[in-house]
Amino acid sequence: MVIKVENLVKEFKEIRALDSFNLELKEGEILGLIGPNGSGKSTLLLSILGIYSYEKGEIRVFNRELKPNSYDIKRKIGFVPQDLALFEELTVYENIDYFCGLYVRDSKKRKELVNKAIEFVGLEKFRKFIPSKLSGGLARRLNIACGIAHEPELIFLDEPTVAVDAQSRSFILEGIKELNRQGASVIYTSHYLEEVEDLCDRIAIIDQGRNIITGTNEELKDSIITTEIIKITLLEENADILKDLRNLSHVIDVTVKDSEYTVKFDNPKSNIADIAQFLKEKGLTYLKLYTELPSLNDVFLELTGKELRD
């Protein structure tokens, strides 16, 4: 286990930022943390990194407690903060060299790592640029390069794609996958559910300082499925079908919009065969017939009672 958090409680004066929080990160895994602003994601990262002290609970990183002076553990960790953490006065190369130097003393090795990091984030043409001369996306890439240049085994990425154009976002996500392929375990926080779905092996939903649920994308969706929604698009309009569909067993609601019928069942699965049989009996031809799966946003809504961006 790379990280194990047990019953973590972190308070800021009267506010409980983390409440009996539990989390595990397995070796070689990308774990996504999703939750609205103020849910406790960044507090969790900073507590794991040993920057925040905490009231109760236990955090173990690489099977050891991470203290401010656990330098041997810190050497294996890379951190990419949410906001740009760069020196405006230093060039791309110098910024990476500066922060890499906090981890790697040997100047020859550092030079190699810095050049590798520049290549990794695709900033070869910009090595002599200062951050203010880079676009938002390129500056984000530099921010990442500063956190991963020393080739850490464990990487924390705190919303690294905020305010980034589509091209840079895709580049960054591919980069994270590559880091993972190279063996790094990753904790990734984001507001973008599609990113998390695409990137992460497991996802933890956080709200009000609590880990509501952790699991794979499928596990999370399965956890909220108590109904089934089937969508039908017919070749020809039929005036009676609405009534007939409502009379089917287990159907609790039927709506129609733009010639597409939405049929909601009170049981979770295996209704599509019954619908197909029903349409056949009625002699109706359908263009589309499919079960609509819940999205991660539906999971979030179901579990927390609010939209992710509330």
């Binding site: 990194l49 002290s53 810190k74 951190f79 740009l84 020196f87 006065e89 060299d97 500066y98």
Partner: protein, 366 residues
């Protein structure tokens, strides 16, 4: 070593990375020195009217005053008239303290020297300053129970004084003292790197395996080199470009300047750690240096005189006053009587400030 030098290079680049910083950190003090030279240099070596100060003294203070001007030989103490004294600096007579203080209030006299050799003055001037120095020497001899012959009869406190020293020099030395504390601007940034106050740069440091102690040391080393550079460039600029002689090749300058630089770094470190907002830190550093320099006479020697009249202890504790006075004494008067005390005082201040700063940095874990 190479890594340390690389870091120092980066730190300096971050510190002086834009034209505004370069102007305020390098050009501004030199510009101020140029302006001062332009306006005041003609006053420096002009004829200084040494109007005799009018003094009163306690009978027991007669001897130190008598030796302000070195006698050719040891006088006959039994026949010496101790009720009146006159030399090229001052004239006066023995008086009871109450009467003397009254006379001082009404400006009938300029100074009163008490039994314990403490000096009460109504205004500042060369005569009073020299008297103060002589009295300090006399106090030291007296406290060591040395015989009267311990006085340096070969030393004249007044000889050629008008050629060496001008009251306007106070302004210049206060400026030099302020420049010696310029390391405060750089060391003021150390706290922001080490204390997480929502600063993302601090997050990078805090999550790295480089210890805080090492980071402080690197910051301090950079600040020290920066200060040393500023002092050197200022001296070189005044000596070779402005052609104004303020610094003599006296080794006693070294401990004085070193302790001043260390104090400046400690002051910046202290303000940078205890004040949260970066803009407030910079404002505090600028204003504190200007106030301390102003008190010691950087804007006008009149301000210094006013403070000396109204609340003299400030000058005894104000670091810039201590540094500027000592620079003046060492370089203009060749007087080292209070040098060790000043160096110790500055070192003491620095130690206290560093301890507070380190405790603050260590405790600031959110």
């Amino acid at each position: 070593m190479k890594r340390i030098l690389t870091y120092i290079k980066y730190e300096l680049k971050v510190f002086l990375g834009n034209y505004a910083s370069m102007f305020w950190m390098i050009a501004f003090p030199l510009l101020l020195l140029t302006i001062y030279t332009f306006f005041f240099s003609n006053l420096r070596f002009g004829e200084v009217e040494l109007e005799k100060a009018s003094v009163a003294y306690h009978e027991e203070a007669f001897m130190p005053l008598y030796f302000v001007e070195a006698p050719k030989e040891m006088p006959n103490m039994e026949t010496l008239d101790k009720s009146y004294i006159e030399n090229s600096l001052f004239k006066g007579k023995a008086s009871e303290k109450d009467k003397a203080l009254e006379a001082l209030k009404t400006d009938e006299i300029d100074a009163y020297v008490d039994k314990d050799l403490s000096l009460v003055i109504s205004k500042n001037g060369i005569s009073q300053m020299i008297m103060d120095e002589v009295l300090t020497t006399a106090k030291q001899i007296s406290s060591l129970k040395l015989p009267l012959t311990a006085y340096d009869f070969n030393r004249s406190y007044t000889e050629n004084i008008s050629e060496k020293y001008s009251p306007i020099d106070v302004v210049f030395y206060a400026l030099f003292a302020m420049i010696s504390l310029y390391g405060a601007y750089l060391s003021g940034t150390i706290g922001n790197r080490l204390i997480v106050r929502g600063k993302t740069i601090a997050l990078r440091y805090a999550s790295s395996p480089t210890s805080k102690a090492r980071q402080v040391m690197l910051g301090v080393a950079t600040s020290f080199l920066w200060s040393l550079f500023m002092v050197a460039i200022t001296i070189a600029y005044s000596e070779f470009i402005l052609k104004q002689h303020f610094f003599s090749p006296d080794a006693n300058n070294i401990p004085l300047i070193m302790s001043a630089i260390i104090f400046g770094i400690s002051w910046g470190l202290f303000l940078g750690t205890v004040i949260k907002k970066e803009s407030s830190q910079t404002a505090a550093i600028i204003s504190s240096l200007l106030i301390m320099s102003g008190i010691s006479g950087m804007f006008s020697d009149g301000i210094r005189t006013l403070i000396q009249r109204t609340f003299p202890p400030i000058l005894k504790i104000n670091p810039v006053s201590l540094i500027s006075d000592e620079l003046l004494k060492v370089n203009m008067l060749g007087n080292y009587s209070t040098l060790a005390e000043t160096v110790l005082k500055l070192t003491g201040y620095s130690i206290i400030l560093i301890i507070i700063s380190i405790l603050h940095i260590r405790r600031k874990r959110a």
